[in-house]
C-alpha cells in the first residue's frame, strides 16, 4: 500500500490580521506535515506564523514551531511531525498589517 499523501488548501484568498487563524484541520492519519503560507498580497510588514495543536479541535495551544509570514508574492513554510490529530496556523502581525493568505498543508501518512 502506498503512503497516503494529501494536499489540503485550508485558507484561500482570505485577508488575515493579527490574531487570525485557519479553520481547524483534522489529520490524525498523517505523521508529517509541510505547512506552506503564501501571501497573495501583504501590507504593513511581516510577522510570525505560529503552528498550533489541539486535543479536540476547539482548544488550541502553541506547538512551538513558528516561522516568518511571507512578503507579498512570497511563500514561507515549516515542517512538523507528531502533531496529534488537529492542526491550525495563527498569525501575529504588526498593528495595521494584513495578509491575504493561501495556506496549504502537504500531509503524509
Amino acid at each position: 500500500m502506498l503512503r497516503q499523501n494529501q494536499t489540503a488548501v485550508v485558507a484561500r484568498n482570505e485577508w488575515w490580521t493579527d490574531g487570525d487563524a485557519s479553520e481547524p484541520y483534522e489529520a490524525g492519519w498523517a505523521s508529517e506535515a509541510m505547512v506552506f503560507l503564501r501571501a497573495l498580497s501583504a501590507e504593513g510588514g511581516t510577522g510570525r506564523a505560529v503552528l498550533q495543536i489541539s486535543p479536540d479541535g476547539m482548544r488550541w495551544i502553541d506547538e512551538g514551531t513558528a516561522f516568518e509570514t511571507p512578503a507579498s508574492g512570497q511563500v514561507t513554510f515549516a515542517r512538523l511531525r507528531e502533531f496529534g490529530q488537529w492542526l491550525r496556523v495563527r498569525v501575529e502581525l504588526p498593528a495595521g498589517a494584513r495578509l491575504k493568505v493561501l495556506l496549504t498543508y502537504n500531509l503524509k501518512a
Binding site: Q4, Q6, A8, V9, V10, A11, R12, N13, E23, P24, Y25, E26, A27, G28, W29, L40, P55, D56, G57, M58, R59, Q85
Partner: protein, 283 residues
C-alpha cells in the same frame, strides 16, 4: 467485498468509496474564477478542503466510523448560514439508471454542554450532470442538477424534513475571455418540501454521540429524472421532484459529478460525516 455488502448496488459498481482507504477522489468544490480569485462567488469562496476524521470528541475520545476508523468529514465555518461541500468528478459512459448510496451522520461542533440538536441547518447531496454531445435536441442537451437536502432545523425549530430544489441563481459571466460562467446552486432560496418528506432521524443526547444513517437515491440518466429516495426505513417516490435544468454548457458533456453538502444554522461549525459511498449503474 465485505464493505460492499451493506449496499444494494445496481449491476455495475462505478465506485465504492470507503474512507478507511483514503479520500477516494473526494475533494474541495472550488468556485470558478478568471484572472483574480476575488471573482469567485462568496458561496464558493467559503469552501474548504474535506478531511479524514475518526470522529474524536473532547469527552469520550474516538468514535470511529461504521466499520473502521475514518469517515470523510465536511465542516462549515462557525458562522450562521455557512456551507461547505465535498465533490467527486466523473463522467458517465452509458445513459442508464444510476444509484447513489451512502452512510452518513452529522453534528454540530461540541462547544456547548447541550444537545444542540437544532444547530445544524441541513445536510444534503446533489448530482451535477450533463447529457452527452450526441444527446437530445441534436446534441444541444441539458445540464441537470438534482438537489436534495435533509432540512434539520432553522431558527431553533427542529423541522426534520426532506426538500429538493429546481432553481439556481442566474448565470453570471466571469472575467474577460467569455469562457467562464458561474451560478450558486446551493443558495438558501428555492428549497421546496418533498411531499410526505418529514422524517424523524435518530440523534443522541449529547453532541458527541452520533448514529449512522443510510441513503439510497435512484436517478435515470436516460430521462434525467429523479426516481426514488430512501433514508433508513422510509422510501420516497421523487419522480415529481424536478431537478435544476439549464441549457448544456459547451465543456461539460457526460459530466457526472456527485457532491455532499452541510450548512450550519448558528455561529458554530456543522459537520457532515460520510462513512462510505457507493455509486452504481444499471449497465
Amino acid at each position: 467485498m465485505l464493505g460492499l455488502s451493506r449496499f444494494d448496488p445496481m449491476k455495475r459498481v462505478i465506485c465504492f468509496d470507503d474512507f478507511d482507504r483514503g479520500f477516494c477522489g473526494w475533494t474541495q468544490l472550488v468556485g470558478n474564477y478568471e484572472h483574480d480569485l476575488d471573482s469567485m462567488l462568496p458561496g464558493y469562496a467559503q469552501h474548504t478542503q474535506p478531511q479524514l476524521s475518526n470522529l474524536s470528541h473532547w469527552d469520550a475520545g474516538t468514535h470511529g466510523s461504521v466499520d473502521g476508523t475514518y469517515a470523510l468529514k465536511i465542516a462549515t465555518r462557525a458562522r450562521a448560514g455557512a456551507q461547505n461541500t465535498a465533490i467527486k468528478r466523473l463522467t458517465f459512459r452509458k445513459p442508464s439508471p444510476i444509484r447513489l448510496e451512502f452512510y452518513f451522520t452529522f453534528k454540530p461542533e461540541a462547544t456547548e454542554l447541550a444537545l444542540s440538536e437544532t444547530d445544524v441547518r441541513s445536510i444534503g447531496f446533489l448530482y451535477d450532470l450533463q447529457q452527452g454531445d450526441q444527446g437530445d435536441r441534436g446534441g444541444l442537451g441539458d445540464r441537470v442538477m438534482p438537489h436534495f437536502r435533509f432540512l434539520n432545523a432553522t431558527g431553533g425549530e427542529h423541522l426534520q424534513r426532506w426538500q429538493y430544489k429546481d432553481k439556481t441563481t442566474a448565470l453570471k459571466p466571469l472575467g474577460t475571455q467569455g469562457k467562464t460562467l458561474t451560478h450558486y446552486h446551493l443558495a438558501p432560496e428555492g428549497w421546496q418540501d418533498l411531499p410526505g418528506g418529514g422524517q424523524k432521524l435518530c440523534y443522541n443526547e449529547i453532541p458527541t454521540k452520533v448514529n449512522w444513517h443510510y441513503v439510497r437515491f435512484d436517478f435515470d440518466l436516460r430521462t434525467m429524472q429523479s426516481m426514488e429516495l430512501q433514508c433508513n426505513d422510509r422510501v420516497y417516490d421523487v419522480r415529481s421532484a424536478r431537478p435544476i435544468v439549464m441549457p448544456a454548457m459547451r465543456n461539460l458533456w457526460c459530466m457526472l459529478n456527485v457532491a455532499f453538502f452541510v450548512e450550519t444554522d448558528v455561529d458554530k461549525r456543522a459537520m457532515l460525516y460520510i462513512d462510505s459511498a457507493c455509486l452504481s449503474g444499471d449497465f
